[in-house]
């Protein structure tokens, strides 16, 4: 049900402002029997998701009540709703939070619907496995994703640089290229953004060394020396002038348009593969993706679910909710609209169907994931509770090093010990 007021109706509502009937009449919008769907997004995703919702309504005759928020507001909203036991029926979930919500009994186990409402026969098993918490499925991946180094192709081409095979390159190779070209770059442009604050980048670093951020038991999975080495590497990058000064880098609060790449201050940037389209929209030059260079003997990267669809434990009509989820994941027409905005789908037939219609940039994503898929290590164990806090703490920890406020080893030690304490507090 879309409600738009004509000008006259609008005036009428204002005029009737004194009558209580107008109040209750307008306020009681919430449709009975509608499936509530919530996601975080951006205007592009909102447009596509809404179109699918409309399609679903016309096809099935059932009603869906959609809600959308910006990422920052989304989790506050969701937490409050959870506290009030009024979570929406179908919830777009993040890999980080699915464990928190599932283990605190906010999400419904989907196993009973798989095979009936949820038709996942064609779906990639590895991707499905990523939504499993403690042996039960709590989320269906909406698409695969991996980390990447995105780079400004136009600039590198202009300098005549060709990158080596990224499935086997190392950080040393990468730094060497940087040192080679850093003086040829335009004024104000650096070889790369500084990724010191990025927990996923730290993760690839320690995974390269055969470790991980967390152990399956929920303890810290790497050693303090790994962190020191990581900080030292990025401090070296900053000191060598390969990455921007700390204050310039710190202007990036995590929004894509503030990234060094979008502001033309960096050739290389860290990016999740599904964000390539959005980043390309912000940059005039052509950009492309390569795998992250390894700092150790092991493959640091892994295929991760970009986001999940989950179902609330309190959903009134679970079957109806499962139907809607299924529509998003398996309906061909729906996926013609969604394409790979949320990542590359794990449904083989859908993937085949949509690939030809993709733009050049979108094709790059598919190609990239094809390469990554063959050179990854397995999905890491689920992050423990309070992992989010540790993620956020990495930023001030690294920045205190970058700004030279604290001795590097002291900062690393501090962060490491605080992380352990955070996990204990959970």
């Amino acid at each position: 049900m879309t409600t738009t007021y004509s000008r006259r109706q609008f005036g009428g509502i204002l005029g009737a402002a004194l009558s209580a009937t107008a109040l209750s009449g307008t306020a009681a919008f919430a449709q009975a029997g509608a499936v509530r769907l919530i996601w975080w997004g951006n205007p592009e995703r909102d447009k596509r998701t809404n179109a699918v919702v409309d399609l679903y309504q016309t096809k099935t005759g059932s009603t869906v009540s959609p809600e959308t928020y910006a990422w920052g507001d989304y989790w506050q909203k969701l937490a409050t709703q959870a506290a009030g036991k009024s979570l929406p029926d179908v919830i777009q979930m993040d890999y980080r939070y699915i464990f928190e919500y599932a283990r605190r009994n906010q999400l419904a186990a989907l196993d009973e619907f798989i095979g009936s409402e949820l038709e996942l026969a064609d779906y990639d098993a590895n991707q499905l496995a990523s939504g499993v918490v403690d042996g039960k499925t709590y989320g269906i991946s909406m698409g695969a994703n991996s980390m990447s180094h995105v780079y400004n192709k136009t600039v590198l081409d202009g300098l005549g640089v060709t990158l080596p095979d990224s499935t086997s390159w190392t950080t040393d190779d990468w730094v060497a290229i940087g040192k080679d070209i850093k003086d040829k770059l335009p004024d104000g442009m650096y070889f790369s953004e500084n990724m010191g604050i990025l927990e996923p980048r730290l993760q690839t670093w320690v995974r390269s060394a055969g470790k991980d951020l967390y152990t399956p038991e929920g303890k810290i999975g790497y050693d303090l020396e790994d962190l020191v080495a990581y900080f030292e590497f990025w401090k070296m990058m900053q000191d060598e002038g390969l990455t921007p000064p700390a204050d310039v880098q710190a202007q990036d609060s995590g929004k894509m348009e503030e990234s060094m790449m979008a502001t033309k201050q960096g050739v290389f940037n860290f990016l999740h593969s599904n964000q390539l389209v959005a980043m390309q929209n912000l940059v005039e030059d052509e950009i492309d993706m390569v795998m992250i260079p390894n700092s150790g003997p092991n493959a640091g990267q892994y295929m991760k679910p970009s986001m999940f669809l989950s179902m609330s434990e309190t959903a009134a009509d679970k079957a109806a909710a499962a139907q809607l989820m299924n529509f998003f994941i398996t309906d061909p027409d729906a996926n013609d609209i969604l394409l790979i905005e949320r990542g590359v789908t794990g449904d083989a037939s859908i993937r085949e169907r949509i690939t030809p219609g993709l733009t050049e940039t979108e094709q790059k994503i598919i190609n990239y994931l094809d390469i990554v898929g063959t050179h990854v290590s397995p999905l890491p164990p689920p992050p423990p509770a309070n992992a989010g806090e540790i993620d956020r703490a990495l930023r001030p920890a690294w920045e205190s090093v970058a700004f030279g406020q604290v001795d590097l080893e002291a900062a690393a030690k501090d962060f490491y010990e605080n992380s352990i304490r955070s996990l204990e507090r959970a």
Partner: protein, 286 residues
Amino acid sequence: MFLLPWLIGFFGLTLGPTLASLYLSFTDYDLLTSPRWSGLENYEYAFFHDRRLGNALSVTFTYVLWSVPLKLTVALLLAMVLDRSVRGVAFYRATFYLPSLLGASVAIAVLWRQIFGAQGLVNQMLFLLTGMKGPAWVAHPDYALTTLIVLAIWQFGSPMIIFLAGLRQVPQDLYEAASMDGASGWRQFRKITLPLLAPVIFFNLVFQTIEAFKAFTQAYIVSGGQGGPVDSTLFYSLYLYEEAFANFRMGYASALAWLLLVIIAIFTAIAFATSKYWVYYEDEGR
């Protein structure tokens, strides 16, 4: 009977939830599962173990102690200039007031990041005037808080208008008498304007201090919601928010909220306690 709506509202919507939060401050509550009683654990952690809390307090105090006096000074200065100029008062008054009306808007905060960015307006001006290249103010731990203080000062309109109204009440013949006595402008300000304006200054001081302690939106948006860089803009309210909704520690956040309440109350009490020494009311008593 006249109080009935307020009583319902106060007990039902304010006191009830406030007491609920007092209860929560003694629990371990993650929003998703039921609260679990944990006694004084939250307070113990806050007092003895939480280093970020110490930082948040110092950021907040720095902000309050700088932004409030500066904002009030600017407000008073411009109010005095406006009080004396004849033409275009309405225009200037409106212009100065507008930002404090629009201040909390999302767009303003976005704008602020831009103005104080590495290539922002401020640095362009700086380069034009001095040839120096300024840092990225919003993103530098030494300056980020300063930009927020500047943002607070930018919204000096509301206290300015209160000062202006206060100035209009100062009888003109006092100044004339002082001029006859040969008092200089500065002396007139010290001996007439300030004392007679004391109640107004007091009002502004108390309200602005409370507001500054509670400041959230600007910091939330300007710092990208993280209180960065290096926690240099981690306001108390921001930290509280993060603990509650990002780290799922509503119990601890409630304890933090109660500490903040006590801090604000102490400040207000100090202001009121000292007020009798420097605030002069024309009609003492009722």
